[in-house]
Subunit: 151 residues, 3 copies
Amino acid sequence: MTPEERLAEMGITLPEVPVPVANYVPFRFAGSLLFLSGQVPRGSDGKPITGRLGVDTTIEQGYEYARICALQLVAVAKTAVGDLSRLSMIKLLGMVNAAPDFTDHPKVVNGASDLFVELFGEEGRHARSAVGMGSLPSRVTVEVEAIFHVR
Amino acid sequence: MTPEERLAEMGITLPEVPVPVANYVPFRFAGSLLFLSGQVPRGSDGKPITGRLGVDTTIEQGYEYARICALQLVAVAKTAVGDLSRLSMIKLLGMVNAAPDFTDHPKVVNGASDLFVELFGEEGRHARSAVGMGSLPSRVTVEVEAIFHVR
Amino acid sequence: MTPEERLAEMGITLPEVPVPVANYVPFRFAGSLLFLSGQVPRGSDGKPITGRLGVDTTIEQGYEYARICALQLVAVAKTAVGDLSRLSMIKLLGMVNAAPDFTDHPKVVNGASDLFVELFGEEGRHARSAVGMGSLPSRVTVEVEAIFHVR
């Protein structure tokens, strides 16, 4: 089953990802590597989802927002390569907006990791770090950036 | 126009970048990828520029300091490849020293992104993340690391 | 002398690194690049070493914990390629759990950088950033991720 077929089976439509209004772009190829800009979670109204783990956001919410970031990364990757079957996930950096004493970053970033494996199977397994930021743009809850390999 | 010609037109002389006094180096090649160590902004006296966004540093100052980081990255890249025309910018990580409630990281990191596009044109457009750190070495305002592709 | 011979000479046995209990993996190849997941320092009991620089952990301790992270990265890399002589260290990201006014991140991350150069010699010199996180999983002191090039 292709990632696109899995998306259909799961009833998921890839979100539209806004193009940055600045001198950077959502993705860039370097040979067979595909580098993606960090994605922040957006609600159905397109607005960034804000909050801080350990303050006003639960782990379950954080997981869901990390999953949204991952879906947005997949949407960008599809724009970049057309056919998602050509991709292997290589590396993910999950950056969680969290209070200094928060400890469950991995459980939040699993929202992204799980989505990649659901869609890509073995090719979705990746190296990653899941860490806590002092602050994030617009006070978003989480930001995820990714590197894919293109076959 | 080459990046070197644009620098001349803009009246910019690339800064001297101090070689780290430790077991790491300012750049490393991996095949056609060029990985650069994070650069922190230095004043004309060579001292690191310190401050924290949302505390004692304005967005306009942060933008300027991110631009200095970018110039230092270009100086390192020139040492690495000689001819800047051989480079495409791929990925930038802009790390801002900011208070927990700061929200305008992208406006700060634009100082680096804009410089790369001014110098390299389309080849300067890059994937990026712009995020907030809990702290930075010497309490510098911002640190930027970069990956280039060499043609 | 090979990295394995140096390890023997230094009387170091590589630690066992636990496989993540989640949808990510300790390493992933992309062509000749080897991306490693972030490693957090573990004591001889396997438990994560916790603390915060500038609060309850000294620079000397932080250096030692960063060195442990590096040894764990080497252990993962050995699993990945078998023969450590095939590796060049390219890029390291040292993420220090630190108070907002902490300034000596490089001295902490040197614990990792020094170990790589002790083991790999010139091939161990790398680009790096050493920065301060707002928080880290399980409140660990430091987390280090790495990219190697495989010959």
